[in-house]
Amino acid sequence: MSRIKELFRRKNNKILNIYCTAGFPQLDSTLLVMKALQNSGADMIELGMPYSDPLADGNVIQASSAAALANGMTLHRLFQQLRDFRKEIYVPVVLMGYMNPILQYGFERFCADAATAGIDGLILPDLPQYEFETEYGPIIKKYELDFIFLVTPETAEERVKQLDSLSSGFLYAVSSSSTTGNEKDFAAVEIYLNKLWEMHLQNPILVGFGIKDKATFESACKQANGAIIGSAFVKTLAGKKNKDIEAVATDFINTIKE
């Protein structure tokens, strides 16, 4: 059973998934951040692979990507950093990133290296359904990686069902139509999440975009299995030294879980 399935079998509500950018705030911060998140109670980690043109990301994650690239982060370096990470990190880890750097690395080689390192799944927002089904999905399956599609409030019901059937691990529900997301209309978000919930999808649902604190996390968790926090956490890491990471991550998780 995959690490992600195992997690949801054990715990199916209030799953806290935290996003962090590889190579940020320092080039060698990646493992320190992941360890700090796990030790302070994150259930899952979404590890961002920095890209020069991250279309779906808002300012904070864009800035962290640019900083990571300036630090010298590459996919080669990332897999070096991840070589032994499973000795210390037991929570599920999914990689999030854009297609172009992966194509240059070699898509199959990327999947092979991710699987060997102990990565559990992939979120690739600019890999669409048609290309997934015809070209890339079979490679992802071959290496037994979970693949997580995104759905949004604009995604038609039929399509939600299709994307759910193609996903494994969980389904990523984007809370509102936005890059960074915000909770300006959380009532609408609740209606949308309720609709998703009542579709009885095969995958657990994690809500992302605009989840930034205890209130938004708990609100999202009412009608989903958990939520993903990205920008709000990344913001706290900006400019921090490696020695401060543990304290920063612990403080942040505490404000969500207390």
């Binding site: 020069s52 279309l55 172009n100 240059q104 600019d126 399509r159 984007v174």
Partner: protein, 393 residues
């Protein structure tokens, strides 16, 4: 999945038309996040039908004729520099804004590099009374001040794109992010034959009026049914797509695309994507992309802001890959020389972009039997500062 009843071309595509998934050969597609799916799908489902409606065609053709000033004359070259707003960009801007109105959209966004597409879009929005927001790289705002002023005077809001390299690529990213954040009332008018399917095909169709006019004008003026060569500059490639369009599937016509070599192909300061790029994904389609070994998109260089783009439309990537198109390049200096030469010899001051196409003429081995049509995509008013600097040297 593939029905035996569907026509072969639906899945294979031609040079002129991508297959139903938006592929020209290996290039194209729609690599977009789910947040854009509904909007892009809506466009894909409707663009061909709306463009075929007689009321649409009537309004589009009437505006091209009475507002833009088409047909533009064929005088040694197809003179799009005489179009209203100074370049071919308005053909596409009118088409897309009319289409957006029919889709019920109330807000138009666009990206711009040199400012030509931004001005064209702002112009059409002023004419139609629609809100217009143009994203423009911070660096381009500095070097294209007159076009920024034009857009503002036309009532558009110009938003500086401060992310990444602060040029066209980043203005495009910002426009896409705007569209993600405004999924209901907004249409994104992409200015070139780039972006996710159906944009490359839709923009090529709107620009195809260039080669349509070329064909009958050539017949009228020279008696030739076809040119032997069509020459056009390529950044993203919209004027070239329009100039090539009706000749794409006719191998008797040689298609010559001219890229910006900047300081020279190997100088590290170039925008010649077919020479320097590798297959990759940028702005929603698979094409040739200038990038590092690690797949990070690099910043190109050209003296002409309109060619300063690290990608190329998937149609052109396919023309290059298949050998159907001949890809040449001209340096900054060669383009400048050609601009001064045309000005002195013919009394036409060309845009720096078009000057690249002019400069490449010297590289072609032509005989007196050849009929060459060059697409003079824009006029040089916007480049006067650069020309003035060159004159001082």
């Amino acid at each position: 999945m593939i029905s035996a009843l569907s026509s072969h071309n639906q899945y294979r595509g031609t040079y002129q038309q991508p297959n139903i998934f938006g592929y020209y050969g290996k290039f194209g597609g729609a690599f977009i996040p789910e947040m854009l799916h509904r909007n892009v799908e809506e466009l894909k489902e409707n663009y061909i039908n709306i463009m075929a409606e007689s009321s649409f065609q009537e309004e589009y053709q009437q505006l091209l004729r009475d507002y833009v000033g088409r047909p533009t004359p064929l005088f040694l070259a197809e003179r799009l520099n005489l179009n209203h707003t100074g370049a071919h960009k308005i053909n596409n801007a009118i088409g897309q804004v009319l289409l957006a109105q029919r889709l019920g959209k109330k807000r138009i966004i666009a990206e711009t590099g040199a400012g030509q597409h931004g001005v064209a879009t702002a112009t059409v929005c002023a004419l139609k009374g629609i809100e217009c927001i143009v994203y423009m790289g911070v660096k381009d705002i500095e070097r294209q001040a007159p076009n920024v002023a034009r857009m503002k005077m036309l009532g558009a809001t110009v938003i500086p794109a401060a992310s990444g390299s602060q040029t066209l690529k980043d203005a495009t990213n910002e426009a896409i992010r705007d569209w993600i954040n405004n999924p209901n009332d907004t249409h994104y008018v992409i200015g070139s034959v780039v972006g996710p399917h159906p944009y490359p095909d839709m923009v090529a169709r709107f620009q195809s009026v260039i080669s349509e006019e070329m064909r009958w004008q050539l017949k009228e003026k020279t008696g030739s049914e076809l040119p032997t060569h069509v020459v056009a500059c390529v950044g993203g490639g919209s004027n070239a797509a329009g100039a090539f369009y009706h000749f794409l599937d006719d191998p008797r016509v040689r298609l010559i695309a001219v890229e910006a070599a900047g300081h020279g192909i190997d100088s590290g300061m170039s925008a010649a994507t077919t020479q320097l790029g590798k297959p990759g994904i940028l702005h929603g389609s698979k094409s040739l992309v200038m990038q590092t070994e690690d797949g990070q998109v690099t910043e190109p260089h050209s003296i002409s802001a309109g060619l300063d783009y690290p990608g190329i439309g998937p149609l052109h990537a396919h023309l290059f890959d298949s050998g159907r198109g001949t890809f040449l390049s001209a340096t900054d200096n060669e383009a400048l020389e050609a601009a001064f030469e045309l000005s002195k010899l013919e009394g036409i001051i060309p845009a720096l972009e078009s000057s690249h196409a002019l400069a490449a003429l010297k590289q072609l081995k032509l005989s007196s039997k050849d009929t060459v049509v060059l697409c003079l995509s824009g006029r040089g008013d916007k480049d006067l500062a650069t020309y003035m600097k060159a004159m001082k040297k």
